[in-house]
Subunit: 316 residues, 2 copies
């Protein structure tokens, strides 16, 4: 039995994971941001003990504890180097846990990397040795699995797939550059395009779908509008998918993965999103339609991907 | 002793390489494109015997033979799957060599990948475990070294770094897409920009440097013009470097290598090219100037990189 911890800005989700990669027990504790990092980490240690005890285990009987954390982590030292979600810097999280829990094998990874590993171990890319996860949420995150293991980059802080410029001089990105994939393929970018299109096209059904309040447009509305044949909605979805397809084709040309997994809010569209993307990407990859083009699928573990991936970190 | 073979459209360059990664003997044979592939491969086998014999070795005494080949290679079967340089398809090159040379350990890689490995083993990135080579020639090729080994992509045909779109809808690329790095950062792209600028600016010194014949503009002219303070030359070099920097920053964000090596014709500019690039890239990488940004250097092995890299393929 292993414990995987998906650490987030709101809560830390712990899961006890068995050999079949099933979550047999869960515990969720709030992430306290008003206390020193050390205290919050000790909260996590207590939660590990509680969850283990509920299943008749002592912490030292666990085969491993893995943590997926936002921000930049340093696997070698077991530290969170920096996370803007927590305003933490250089927190030796594994050392603190070991003080309290003893010498259980532990490992840490970026949360998107952990989610990618989870999908490969037990989710949409089960059995794949090489896969890419792109999360389409507030930003565009991602993780790359090579030969069954997380690709962590040559030096710390690698694999920022969302910060690949696809439109030089384009939309301003949160990272300060212009034209990053994130600024065109995140859920936030989709909302920006939908609001603009709705404002420019008063006849668009997107305006009624949001009750006349453009701020209430969500990621589902442009897809629903497109499905209803709304011209502006179709245009937004088409434009969004073209940008996302360009980014995916770039990553396929670079990594040639067996599978591309989409997660995050926009991935709730499932085949509605992946079918047209697959068609677009097929025409964009090097070697053309004859190349081995990875199937594009949506994440199927949802929030559990991070827990299961974290539980699988140790020894990989 | 190992033999590395750098197979090209014009010639196959063989090098006998010692433990110190020095080339102690060389043999160059023409690439015969007018005969069946098998015959050309047997030419290579004969050349291996000749080069070995010149140094008192039998082929079976070699520790390994490695081949860097253009096109798509399949390491598992030791075949060249496809190369438009040779119009070869599915040539089991290692099997043919083994028939003639006996059971010497052999391996094959894409030629750009082999060159990248050569630079890591004995060249500009000596000692690095993670490095990226970009060749700025007719096209933009490249190779990625991860943990000291060539990254070959999840399925065959991976790592087409030049075919990453950086300007959606931009210049048409040889691959059929628009806006690939290759269509902005190859030597061919530099010439295109220089010719356009020279034609638009009759006062530019680039026009006299090419003797009034724009077709004679080479990759050195815009840099020479810029160094002489020519406004149009400066603009061409600035534009070229901006595009190249965008591509390099994308690759740093994805791979976080210890070093980026530039090869191919344009890299002859050395610090003239790398110094401004380093400055531009520093402002583009995720995490800003505080991130660990790889030094950008130029290849120092030249054509020998492919031979030395090929010789180091076996066992990696």
């Amino acid at each position: 039995m292993r414990i995987g911890i998906d650490l987030g800005g709101m809560s830390a989700k712990l899961g006890l994971v068995n050999e079949q990669n099933e979550i047999v027990g869960k515990l969720v504790i709030p992430t306290r941001l008003d206390v020193p990092a050390r205290e919050m980490v000790l909260d996590m240690a207590r939660a590990v003990k509680t969850l283990s005890a509920e299943h008749g285990l002592k912490p030292e009987e666990l085969e491993g504890i893995g943590i997926g954390s936002p921000g930049t982590v340093d696997q070698k030292t077991g530290s969170i180097l920096y996370s803007n979600n927590f305003s933490w810097e250089d927190v030796p999280i594994l050392d603190i846990l070991r003080e309290d829990l003893g010498p259980v094998p532990m490992d840490i990874a970026n949360d998107a990397d952990a989610a990618a590993l989870g999908e490969v171990c037990a989710g949409a890319a089960k059995g794949a040795q090489n896969a890419i996860l792109l999360t389409l949420g507030t930003g565009v995150g991602g993780g790359v699995i090579l030969d069954g293991r997380i690709f962590r980059g040559g030096v710390a802080g690698g694999c920022e797939l969302g910060h690949m410029v696809i439109v030089e001089g384009g939309e301003l990105c949160t990272c300060g550059r212009r034209g990053c994939l994130e600024s065109y393929a995140s859920a936030s970018a989709l909302l920006r395009m939908a609001r603009k299109a709705a404002a420019e096209h008063p006849e668009s059904v997107m305006n009624t779908m949001c009750g006349g309040d453009l701020e209430k447009i969500n990621g589902k509305i442009p897809f629903d509008a497109a499905a209803a044949g709304d011209a502006a909605g179709c245009q937004v979805v088409e434009e969004y998918e073209n940008h996302l397809a360009a980014g995916i084709a770039n990553l396929i040309n670079i990594f040639r993965p067996e599978m591309v997994i989409l997660g995050g809010g926009v991935a709730a569209q499932k085949e509605n999103l992946t079918a047209p993307l697959q068609e677009k990407v097929a025409g964009m990859c090097f070697g053309g339609r004859h190349g081995k083009i990875a199937p594009i699928v949506t994440s199927c573990l949802g929030n559990d991907a991070g827990i299961i991936g974290a539980a699988n970190l140790v020894g990989r």
